[in-house]
Structure formats: C-alpha cells, structure tokens
Amino acid sequence: MFKNNPTLRYISHRAAWYFLTFLVAVTINFFLPRLGTANPVDIIMGKVGTGLDTEAAKDKEESYLKEFGLVEVNDQGELLRDEAGKPVKTSNIKQFGRYLVMCFQGDLGTSFLNYPKKVTEIIKDALPWTLALQIPTIIFGWIVGNLLGALAAYRRGVFDRIFFPVALAISSIPFFAFGMLLVYVFAINLGWFPAMGGYAGDLIPSFSLTFFKSAAYFYVLPFLSIFLILAGGQAIGMRSMGIYELGTDYIKCAKWFGIKENKVLMYLFRNAMLPQLTGLALSLGSMIGGALITEMIFSYPGLGMAILTAVQGNDYPLIQGCTLLVTVSVLIANFTVDILIGFLDPRVRAGNQMGGK
C-alpha cells in the first residue's frame, strides 16, 4: 500500500518523526526542572508546615514524599527506610518511569498550590479558553496576512507603499507590547473594552447566550493584539515571496503565452503559499509562546494564566503539566501543517518529497 501512495509514505514518515520528538520533549519536560536543587516538598512544607510540632511535621513531610513518588515504598505502602531511619529516595530514573506511566494514564500529578486539585483538572478548565483564542487567531491571521501580502506584491504602487511600512512596523512589535498598548488605549483610556479576564466577573461559565456575549466582548482585545501582529508578519513574508515569484521565468512565460491574469495570479499564490506554510510551521512555537504571554497580560483564563500562577507559586506539577501540554499542542499543530503541505504540494503527491522540511 505504502509504495503506491507517496502522500501516505510522506505522512507516516512525518508521524514517526513527530513521535520521536514527542519522546524527547517528554524527557526534557521531566528532567529539566530537576536540574536545580529545589525540592518541591520543602516548598509545600514551607506553606503547610508552620505551626506543627516536629513529629507531626515529619509525618506530614513523609506523607507528601510518598504522595509525590519521591521515596520508595514497599507493597503495603509503607516507606522503606535506610539504616538511619530516613526514607529512601527514589532515583530519578524510577521517578521518570513512574511519570511516563502516569502520563499515559492521563494523570499529570497533583497541583501544589491548589492541593488537592489534580493538574489535569486545572488544565481542563484553562485549555478551552486558550484554544478558543489561539486557533482562530492563527488561522485567520495567516489567511488574511497572506492575502494582503499577495495583493501588495501584485499591485505595488500606492497601496504597497503605504501598506509595507505599516505592516513592517506592526509585525515588529512584540506580542506583549502590543497587548499592553491596546489595553492602555482601548481599555483604560477609552473604556471601550475590558482590560482583564475572559468574561464578566459576576458570571459563571455556562452555555448561555449571556455568557457567550460577555466572553465575546472580552475576546476582542486579546484577539486583536495577536491577530494584527500575526497578519502583519505573514503579509511581509508573502509580499517578499510574491515579488520573488513575479520575477520568475515561469510567470513571465505564462504572461507571454497570453494566459489569463486570474490564472497567473493563481500560479503565483499557490506557489508562494507553500514556503509560507513551511514558515508557519517553523514559527508556530514562538507564535503560541507569544500568545500565551498575551493571555497573561489580559489575565485571560487560559493556559497562559495557569502557567503564570504556577511559576509564581513554584507549583512544579502544574508548570510541568502545562509545558507538556503546550509542547504537545505545538507538535500537533506542526504535524497538521505538514500534512496540509503534503496534500497541497503536488510535487509531494508525485513522490518528490519536496514538502515539509
């Protein structure tokens, strides 16, 4: 089957590669935070252990150690101890093994800050907001930006001369800076939009019209602050690609053959689109990172805020859970774009493997 379908071959090749990347990412995600000497249980004890006498404190500490899988236990669930009576610490490798098993069971641990809430629970609440904000922004930003860029490349003239510097200026503004600017101008000064949050403070998330209207109202500024910069960046890139393609022999030749202008434009757009898609795949990581920071600026109740509060409170399981999820999302997004390229680039379909990297 595979031999006869180059597209399938291409997709499975990419899938294998992404799986490998995923394994590396999970490993990194686990081991990096353990680079330092910070012991999470100490941090928890610092919060929880005040006012307890030594005996009670020790019991509590040991129960946490047990719960977070940092020490060895026997079959009855009792702590194993060494000669000095201290609990035996689990090796990092063993912890990693346990972590992997937990991950595949869908358990990302328990949050420190919001103990005993599970990390997955917190993420489940935050994820929809992030997805609702980022997916439309990235998709529309890409489409609109590329269309404008292609137009600028083809028309040139006055439109281009105004458009190019404006787009360049906007696309160079860091996401957070633009977010802050929009908040300051439109929320604080003009009061047209709310400065923070995902929905009005007195509402509870539900599937009601009131809620959706409120959420939409709070959606505008965060959406714009990401969308405009993204579209600007794509427009600049597409404009360069368009100008380059316009100078190619095959476009000149198509014009000499008397081929209709619409068709020539289609040639141009379809050919310039492919490297733009590849560029999209490359910048997805930083786009999503920037969008997360925007969420933080707006205190938007998505993964961005989850990460922010987790970092500020040294909530390791939550930090790790969020970063793992973000990484997996980026991988999935990249893979999707790769598949898209596989279908759109006719040379891949013909077995030339020119799409992707």
Binding site: D249, Y250, C253, N271, N352
Partner: protein, 323 residues
Amino acid sequence: MSTFEVENLSLHYLTRFGQKIPAVSDVSFTMKQGEILGIAGESGCGKSTLVNGLMGLFIPPLYPTSGDVRVSGESLMNRSPADIRQNILGRKVSMIPQGAFNALNPTRRVKDIAADMISSHEQGGNKKEINERLRSRFDLFGMDTEKILNSFPIQLTAGERQRSVIGIATLLNPQMVIADEPTSALDVTTQKSVIRMIFDLLDKKVFSTMIFITHELPLLRHVADNIAIMYAGEFVEKGTAEQIVFDPRHPYTKALMGAMLSAEEGQRQKKPTAIEGAPPSLANLPHGCRFAARCPMVRPECKQNKQEIRIVGGRQVRCDYAV
C-alpha cells in the same frame, strides 16, 4: 499577402527622468509563409526589446516611437493590453523564451499548463475534448506523449522540457513564432532534435513563420532562410543565410564572422579575431554610424553621416561604404 510585416519600427524606453532611450531604430522586414528569419547580434543590441515590440507587448517603460507591426494584415499598434493578451499572445504571435527549462510552472503538470493556454484564449470545450486535442498535438512531437503530458516539469529532461514549451507555444497554431535562443543551453544532440522538431512543425503548418534569435551565426546558416544582423538597435545587414554567412558586406557582419569559430568548409582555416571596444550606450548614441567607433574600415565621414539602408550585393546593408 505577407504573414508578418514590420515597417520602420522604432521603440524607446522612458526613464524616470523623462529621458527617451531609443532601444530599436527603424527596423523593417516582411516574412512569407514558411519563412524562418534569423536575427543575430551581441548582447544588448536590442534583440529582447525588439521581441517585445514584435508581440505588441508595449509595457511601460517601453513605448513605440513610430512604425507598424502587422500579422496577416492586422496591426499590433494602439491596442489595449487585454486585447493583446487575448487575441495576439499565444494565438497569433507566440514566443518560446530563453531558458525554457524554467519557463513552466514547477507545481503544475504539462497537460494542465497546456489546458490553461487553451482556456485563456478560447471559450468552451470540455475536458475530454481538450485532452484529446492535447494528445493528438503532442503525438506529433515524437516523445512519450502520456508521460510528458502527465509529468511535472522537473520530472522531464531539459530537451523534453524545451520541446514541451515549443508544443505549448504553438498549440493554437500561431502565425508567427519567435524563438529566443531556443538551443543555447542544450547539448548538441538535443539541439538537433529541437531543430528537427521546429522544421517538422513548420512543415506540418502548425505555425507559419518563425524568427530565430541567437548569437550563433553558424547555427543560423542551417536553420534560417534569411538572416538579419542587429547592432545598437538597428538592422545593419539583412540577406539570405548564404549571403550573410559566406559573403558578408557590412563591416560589423564581417567582423562577427571573423570572430566565429566554425567547422564549416572554407571557414576552418580562418583565425578568429575579436572585435575591440563595446557597443555604444543606447542613452548616448553617436550622430553618425553607430559602429564607427569600432569599425576597421572607418572614415571621417562615417562619424558625421547617419547611415541609411542601401542594396549591396543583392541584400540590404546599412553602410555608405560597403561593397
């Protein structure tokens, strides 16, 4: 009636500062059905500009100064770009560009590009009819039709690509085909097959006349019926291929032939000599003969008097003192 007539055609470029640069000056020739005219000259002599003019492609900053170009009696002057695109380009006058291997959209199959050609000029026609038409046309080319039509350009060899471009350019049976260095970047065997294809198509009346542009004069001897030599935007000599190659009269043509290495009989023993100097800048053309600065037979009068076309030895020569 001649198939293709050019009458005192002059073209100029308009610079940003309003300066008129005469790129083509006073070119005239007529061509009959079945004729191949070769145009030869150094780089920068105005060949490409002339080509644009011959197709009616007067796109700023290129403008026609004066003169006329007629295909089967129909003038190409003073027409809108849309008109030219729809009715002339590809249909009556078609061009085979230089470096044809990049001339085709790399992400489109040959048959689709060819179909685009048809649909851009004609109405109607369903897919089946178009495919049949493409197949029967490409069958004439002596290549693996199915493979060629269904391939992407990158999957074809240079020769196959070149011939596909010729095929698409002549698809609508144009009266005039302008071939700009069609064999320059090809190896000798492929060159031969391309030239054979051209003769074949001409024979089968797929197109009526051809202008073959190259800087290789010896090649023109085998391909062209008549040859015109171009220098600094003007035709300096025009005659039959035999006349130009074996009996050049204009000092420039003589110098060109002297600078060529040729394996022809009678040419082999000659030592090639370079022509000193460089063509004049089109922005700064001299008063008199444009070749005066480099002419080995130059006289003081040459630099004063503008040279007109005379008939010398049965062909046109732009030199007052040629014999």
